[in-house]
Amino acid sequence: MTKNTHFNWLNALRMGLIGGVVALLISLVGMVEEFSQRDIIAGVITMGQTLLFIAILMAGYFAAGRAAGQPGLNSLPSGALAGLVTAGILAVLVVIIPLLNLRAILPNASPALIRILTFLQESLVVGIFYLLGAGAMIGAAGGLINILPAGIRRAVILALFWVGLLGLLQELLRVTLTNMPQVGAVLSWMFGSRGLSVPGAIAVFVAVAGGNYLWASQGDKVQDRIRAQPPATHRAMRWGSIVVAIAVVLYLPRVLGPYLSDVTNSVGLFILMGLGLNIVVGFAGLLDLGYVAFFAIGAYVMGVLTSSAIGQNAGQIVFGPQLSFWQALPIAVGVSVLFGIILGIPVLKMRGDYLAIVTLGFGEIIRILALSDFLKPYIGGSQGIVEVGEGQIGPVIFNTPQTLYYLIVAGCLLALFISRRLRDSRPGRAWKAMREDEDVAQAMGINLVATKLLAFGTGAAFSGLSGAIFASKIGSIYPHSFSLLISINVLSLIIVGGMGSLPGVFVGALVLVGLPELLREFSEYRLLMYGALLIVMMLTRPEGFWPEATHKREFHEAAASEVAPESAPAS
């Protein structure tokens, strides 16, 4: 027992060091400086500072979590020490940047970074004291959060999260609210010049924390009361919510305005691709890293068939039948399916990592071919294809973000419908059986060739549709739009959402495509954060944010029983 009441110095130091390294990395990569242009709470705290504070808070939280002994007594000093160490490492950075002229190697070790780290103080010494003090306090706060009772802790963390999120999205909210002046006036006090205002932040914090706490204690009763209603009411409620959802979807572009509609459209195209890749990776378990190939094929077929800039002198390509959008669309999807099957046949016998690398190779082959001089007369080489046709139904031409929105929503709904029906029918069950164990699935009479090709074909169809709409939306096609990053993007979003989960695709696309589109500063660090997110997801929550039922069970079983699922039987 004597050991337990002992103050755990070493552990707090260790956590502080880890936190310090993370904070150092965030600073030197340039995120702190870049993100400091955006305020979370106007005039109080910027996003860059928030990032650092999160690092310190986590260090304090974990240091307190590992501190042995009675909670409360040791947690606060442990957290404070960890925070102090983290801040100390940053302070060292502040001192050595000018001494060693680090900027020659690390461009982000700039005077601006020093100013941010020392809270804009004139004197370096005062600034460092501020930094250390803030570190200790925030570390202690992290420790404090750790020792709160579970219910309150969840409420506090959630409330902090929402304050941050609303602060980030305030521009978006403001644009939306200007389109609805009645609501906007009421809420305008919440937002300061560049972020949440102080009363706004407090209001959000209190509302979320209180709401969460109430729901945690009273939620079961409310749910019971709803469950106790007669079936007729249930049906009415379900129909009511469907009607409301449809109304919201139809009315949305008017609220959003052109810019936000455009962002929504990007998200929609990624949802479409995500639904396709979800069939290949999520349902059938075939890791495809060259998924962008079908997106490119859909776009190029649409471009070649509808472009009006053709001929030796008039445009980049020599051949083009100048079909209309609606004539070209099914052809584009059909060609994508064809390629999905053609590229699927060679990889039928491959599994896991080999499949991933080969499909990656396919994706690159398609991109390099599109870029090459070899195919230039037909698909434009590096100059691409311009003047791609636009769709039209009656008087509506799909050429503005707000009209294209309906086209994309229709595409997503179609893909969602097909995905759902396939999932719950025979092929869907075959895919899942194959995902779990190919050999057993084959022994059970599943035709692996047909099942795999169906997955590849359906996946390619959705991606091709997405590509065709993309071509028409942008109006021109260039090979650099079809880099490997798109494949990684789509893969990340279905993994973050939860492999094999349909709502997960929507969640993933909103988080991974929507957020970075809205926050310009993010774009530079998009892939860095994707990479980190993939690692963290796999380490802590491999089933994703909105997991599919079977997957969740599987991952938790694997974690529960220590039986080694040793990849494959040794030969």
Partner: protein, 354 residues
């Protein structure tokens, strides 16, 4: 006999035969036409071959990292290309500093050794951290999980280094000793740097082979790759051996990075991606998990890639065939995996694991 054959012969087999046959025909016809046209003299071909061997030895060095890790963990260390990049990219700053202080020209041998040491140390650090943070906790999870982690780690490292060192191209300084060429009599000349790269790579590979075959650690590595659990029962510290494997692979990758940078001068944060895939192709080509196989596969791929575009495609009248060299490499990867997934040296493991 024929009936049984027809029963087992499916439409997909037919398709694959057609694809394989037409690619083979393309290669034969293309080579024939190119050679008949005679635009290229013996000297050109000699240059292609030497360049291919130099390029190939860099591939081989990286491929060894893939093969070592695959041999032990049965996973593709997708982030290995970034291990390679980190060494070369960090080395630039050392090389630049030494160049400006004049040390590089006064003491070229010492300077180059220091350069290699720094690059290899950086690569080793990155690889060890990678193993500790991203791979070790996942050793018992389903197969797709570590692969996705590796992809994530690859992008994370790429863009971390972009953030740290900036996104522009950096040019390695000129090393005077390595400039110029030797004449081999007649019209054949050979660039000094290419010789140095080939020789250095050969020495490193020989060193690795000896290490794995002759030392105690090497023996333990082979035991772990055979069967982890039994190796642990025999008193081998499996975790430590895995870390050492990563260290070996990373050291070779760091050296490969410097050799590459000395040859092509340019380094940037994205430089690992294509060589990474190529090196993986090389590892598969030679039979993944097989150390001599990776060396052979690397050299073969380098050769194929430098001679191939001109030899196969030029005769067919394809403009700028050199743009398509990556297509040739990837096509080769696909073909190898389809028709001979065990690679040239046929490691038995691959059939079951692939």
């Amino acid at each position: 006999m024929l009936r049984r054959f027809l029963e087992r012969f499916t439409l997909t087999d037919l398709f694959m035969w057609l694809v394989g046959g037409s690619i083979l025909a393309l290669i034969v016809v293309g080579s024939f036409l190119t050679l008949r046209a005679g635009h290229y003299t013996a000297r050109h071909w000699f240059d292609f071959v030497v360049f291919g061997l130099a390029q190939g030895s860099v591939y081989a060095l990286i491929a060894l990292g893939y093969t070592l890790v695959y041999g032990i963990l049965r996973m593709i260390n997708f982030a290995h290309s970034e291990v390679y990049m980190s060494g070369a990219f960090t080395g630039y700053f050392v090389a630049d500093a030494m160049n400006r202080s004049g040390f590089l020209d006064q003491n070229p041998l010492l300077a180059l050794l220091a350069l290699f040491a720094v690059a290899m140390t950086t690569s080793i650090t990155v690889a060890v951290l990678l193993e500790r943070i991203a791979y070790r906790p996942l050793r018992r999870s389903p197969r797709l999980v570590p692969l996705i982690t590796a992809i994530g780690a690859s992008f994370f490292l790429q863009y971390t280094f972009r953030g740290l060192y900036g996104s522009q191209n950096r040019a390695y300084p000129d090393v005077e000793v390595l400039d110029g060429a030797w004449s081999l009599g007649g019209e054949f000349i050979i660039q000094k740097i290419q010789v140095v790269v080939i020789v250095a790579a050969a020495v490193l590979m020989f060193g690795l082979y000896t290490f794995v075959q002759r030392t105690r650690t090497g023996k333990a590595m082979r035991a772990v790759s055979e069967d982890k659990d039994v190796a642990a029962l025999m008193g081998i510290d499996v975790d430590a051996i895995i870390v050492r494997t990563f260290i070996l692979g990373a050291a070779l990758a760091g050296a490969a990075g410097v050799l590459y940078a000395l040859m092509f001068r340019q380094v940037n944060f994205f430089m690992g991606f294509i060589p990474g895939i190529k090196a993986f192709t090389a590892a598969v080509l030679g039979g993944i998990g097989n150390i001599p196989g990776a060396m052979l596969g690397g050299l073969f791929l380098g050769l194929f890639e430098s001679v191939g575009p001109t030899l196969f495609l030029d005769g067919l009248g394809i403009p700028a065939p050199y743009q398509l060299k990556d297509v040739i490499a990837f096509t080769m990867l696909v073909l190898v995996l389809i028709y001979r997934p065990t690679g040239i040296l046929g490691e038995q493991l691959t059939t079951a694991k692939a």
